[in-house]
């Protein structure tokens, strides 16, 4: 476990992302696909950054991936002021996108690139949830 529990900042949903964060609060990790070119859009938005179509739809992602890169933050800032050491990482989802997150429920020193991880949702208060990832049990 990390030395201190991490704060759980609440997301700020907007007109592009309300459904994503509503689903997160229900324990679901949604992804958006472009219905025109088929690419997965990350972060979610109404226009496809690849082909610029506005025909998009949501689907539930696997919530699984591997660590693309990580760092152990030794001195946190803001809400994370007393949280160090903790791990910030880019996780490459099974579906492709590389997304920023924390790796939790493990010793920070044990984290490595290529490690398999899965999504967990943490209560951010007021019915909101934040996604993080933890090592997959093997």
């Amino acid at each position: 476990m990390t030395a201190n529990p991490l704060p759980v900042p609440a997301p700020s949903p907007n007109f592009d992302t309300q459904e994503f964060w509503d689903a997160a609060a229900q324990g679901k990790f949604l992804l958006k696909r472009c219905d025109s070119c088929g690419v997965i859009i990350w972060y979610p938005r109404f226009v496809c950054p690849d082909c610029h179509s506005t025909d998009t739809s949501w689907f539930e992602g696997s919530g699984k991936g591997t660590i693309y890169t990580y760092t152990i933050v030794r001195k946190g800032q803001g809400p994370y002021k007393d949280a160090a050491p903790f791990v910030v990482a880019y996780v490459e989802l099974e579906e492709g996108p590389r997304i920023l997150t924390n790796i939790v429920e493990c010793d920070p020193e044990s984290v490595s690139i290529g490690q398999a991880v899965e999504v967990v949702f943490q209560d951010a208060g007021d019915g909101a949830a934040l996604y993080r990832f933890r090592p997959t049990e093997t």
Binding site: P9, P11, N14, W42, R45, D50, F86, I99
Partner: protein, 394 residues
């Protein structure tokens, strides 16, 4: 030369609504962008120049460029209030006439009606739904400072290419050797590889001495026409080439092992008509040691992944290294005013061409130099700009 007849307006779009409480500012910018390129019979994939004012959320236009998936060779964020867009059209024409871009997009968006009671001003947004669009996907996990982002890049570079902390430390050592000759340097002491590695870990694998200094200060540059240059009793420095680029998250295809310099560099070299072998001195943006290492690779001074080996054996040390760099001590040891190191990169490059660097680090016969700047978060949402400068007869 003038812009007369060099550029044409091909598409326009006016948002049809007059109260838009159900869209973010980013979405409105995107909607008018889609409308205008469609009116022209083009798509956003054709756009290679983007012009906007401060009504776009984020740092300059870079969050919009990321959101729309643009790849621009020219970006202009001139803010002059309500006159901005007229200026932008003129700036776009200037850029097109100079061959810097061929399809320029200018956007405006604001919500002062639906956000009455909120912040005043044309934008009428700022927080909440109008925070930069990436905020809730990058801002919640404690990545609250530049070192962490650059540490993520360094970790991946080490994984892919075998780069070591010792190699990164060599970059700091070279900068410190130069800083000892700069009486204004914040950190004028020469450091060793061992001292860098023994400094506290800030964000693995970056140590405190892998980071630049934090300084107040500033700098300024005056650029003049050839006619004015010839009239002055001062050695001037010729601007030979310029290139810029933005690198962003590329729709989830984040790759932290290279920077926007892979695009800005070739643009500058092509315009200048020179190659890496012609560069006598380089000012390389040095917010962190890894910043220097990746950009030496990206600018073509060595192959991708070979930067760690390149910097060994005093390669960066003036005056006789393979690539003398940052002879003022750089951001790593001398000065990083306003947490923005690009200005000082230009200034030391000019000193080298003028022969006004400290004699201990002045590169002999310094004819052609390069200055390269980085802004934002390395390889996730960044601006890159490269200048190639030379003597008056270069």
């Amino acid at each position: 030369m003038s812009i007369r007849g060099k550029a044409f307006i091909a598409g326009i779009y006016e948002h049809p609504r007059r109260e838009i409480p159900d869209r973010t500012l980013t979405q409105i910018h995107a909607e008018v962008a889609l409308g205008a390129v469609a009116d022209a019979g083009l798509t956003l994939s054709d756009v290679d120049g983007y012009f906007c004012d401060s009504t776009v959320p984020g740092m300059g236009g870079i969050s919009m460029v990321d959101y729309l998936g643009l790849q621009c060779s020219y970006l202009d964020n001139t803010e002059t209030g309500g006159s901005s867009y007229l200026g932008h059209v003129g700036h776009a024409a200037t850029a097109i006439a100079a061959g810097k871009c061929s399809v320029a997009l200018v956007t405006l968006a604001g919500k002062p009606r639906s956000s009455r009671g909120g912040p005043r001003g044309g934008g009428g947004g700022g927080g909440g739904v109008d925070a930069p669009p990436e905020t809730s996907f990058e801002g919640l996990w404690g990545l609250a400072g530049a070192p962490y982002n650059y540490a993520l890049a360094a970790q991946r570079h080490m994984y892919e290419f075998g780069t070591t902390s010792e190699q990164l430390a060599e970059i700091k050592v070279a900068a410190s050797i130069h800083a000892q000759y700069n009486p204004h340097a914040l950190m004028p002491n020469v450091v060793t590889v061992e001292e860098v590695l023994a400094s506290p870990m800030i964000s693995d694998p970056l140590h405190r001495l892998d980071c630049c200094v934090i300084t107040d200060g500033g700098g300024a540059v005056v650029v003049v026409s050839p006619e004015v240059a010839h009239s002055l009793d001062r050695q001037t420095v010729k601007i030979l080439g310029h290139g810029e680029a933005q690198k962003h998250a590329m729709n989830g295809r984040v790759d932290l092992t290279y920077s926007g310099a892979v695009w800005s560099g070739p643009r500058a070299f092509e315009e200048a008509g020179v190659t890496q072998a012609d560069i006598d001195y380089a000012s390389i943006y040095d917010s962190f040691t890894i910043t220097v290492l990746e950009q030496i690779e990206d600018l073509g001074f060595c192959e991708k992944g070979q930067g760690g080996r390149f910097v060994l054996d005093g390669a960066l040390v003036a005056p006789h290294g393979k690539l003398p760099f940052n002879t003022d001590g750089g951001g790593l040891c001398n000065n990083h005013p306003a947490n923005r190191g690009g200005m000082t990169k230009v200034l030391e490059a000019v000193r080298q061409v003028r022969g006004e660097a400290h004699p201990a680090v002045q590169v002999p016969d310094c004819n052609i130099v390069l200055a390269h700047g980085t802004g934002g978060a390395l390889s996730t949402r960044m601006g890159s700009a490269t200048l190639i400068l030379g003597r008056e007869d270069a």
